[in-house]
Chain length 134, copies 2
DNA sequence: TTTATTGTCTTATTTATATAGTACAGTAAT
DNA sequence: ATTACTGTACTATATAAATAAGACAATAAA
């Protein structure tokens, strides 16, 4: 599974978000051992230092913890994970509504455009790759 | 009206987006004269070079045009503006659905959370400022 | 005991942004 | 004609991010 990192925003931020999502979606389960810094760096095609920076931040927020020489693990605090999921979902929804509002879309227009898009979607997975070249 | 630029992403990109939205939402009308580079730079509290870079890009895409010494103007091609609005709206909707899907939300959950948020909203304007310190 | 792996730390270099300061030619206003 | 304003161009500097390369101590595995 590719990491899909772009140069729009700092890479270490995108890595943090990616791992957060992987935890929230259940790809990584509480207590799971993460691959080593060097493995993750290679997998994501980034410098180990960059991966380390992202992991340190995840550790600072308590989502993962490091055991000095045996590796790094996902928190077993499922409440924390659930709260993060709610928080991120809320942020995504809020940002979406703000963006649409800035473009001049009213609530009803926003919902109808959303439903239209949902109806048009073929599968649930695998859209993206909208390279408009800007 | 503040420009609300943050350091998350390159400033000149955020300026481009801001002006695009101002054109789409009708704050700037087709044919309108833009403030000078220096004025805009001061208004946005950025360096004139940064503003110039953003304006050059807007010019490259045809949304504004410069008249060497009299100033810069919004395109009178209303079709282009309408198309940009549709394009940006589509991108916003698609990105929103992708993000929610990554978090593990199904279509129905996404819509219900959205409607719940819309119902809870007090006014149509002025949310934002969610500084969680990350 | 030896070896390999772990997280962690350090220094140096490169690149993209943003800023600072200055300059020039064309033109509108005076 | 002079002045002020326009977009545009240029060099230099500062900063954050990413990379490159290497090192260390602790520990699990052999």
């Amino acid at each position: 599974m590719p990491w899909n990192l772009n140069s729009d925003r700092p890479i270490f931020i995108q890595i943090i978000e990616k791992i957060q999502v992987d935890i929230i979606s259940g790809l990584y389960m509480p207590g799971d051992k993460l691959p080593s810094v060097r493995e993750l760096a290679q997998e994501a095609s980034v410098n180990p230092n960059t991966m380390q920076k992202a992991l340190s931040e995840l550790e600072r927020t308590g989502l993962v913890y490091a055991q000095r020489t045996s590796g790094r693990f996902i928190t077993e605090d499922t409440t924390m994970i659930d709260e993060l999921k709610s928080k991120l979902a809320k942020e995504i929804v809020t940002e979406f509504l703000e963006n649409m509002q800035k473009l001049g879309f009213q609530k009803e227009e926003t919902i109808s455009l959303l439903e239209k898009t949902l109806a048009t979607e073929k599968s649930t997975k695998g859209e993206a790759d909208n390279d408009t070249g800007m």
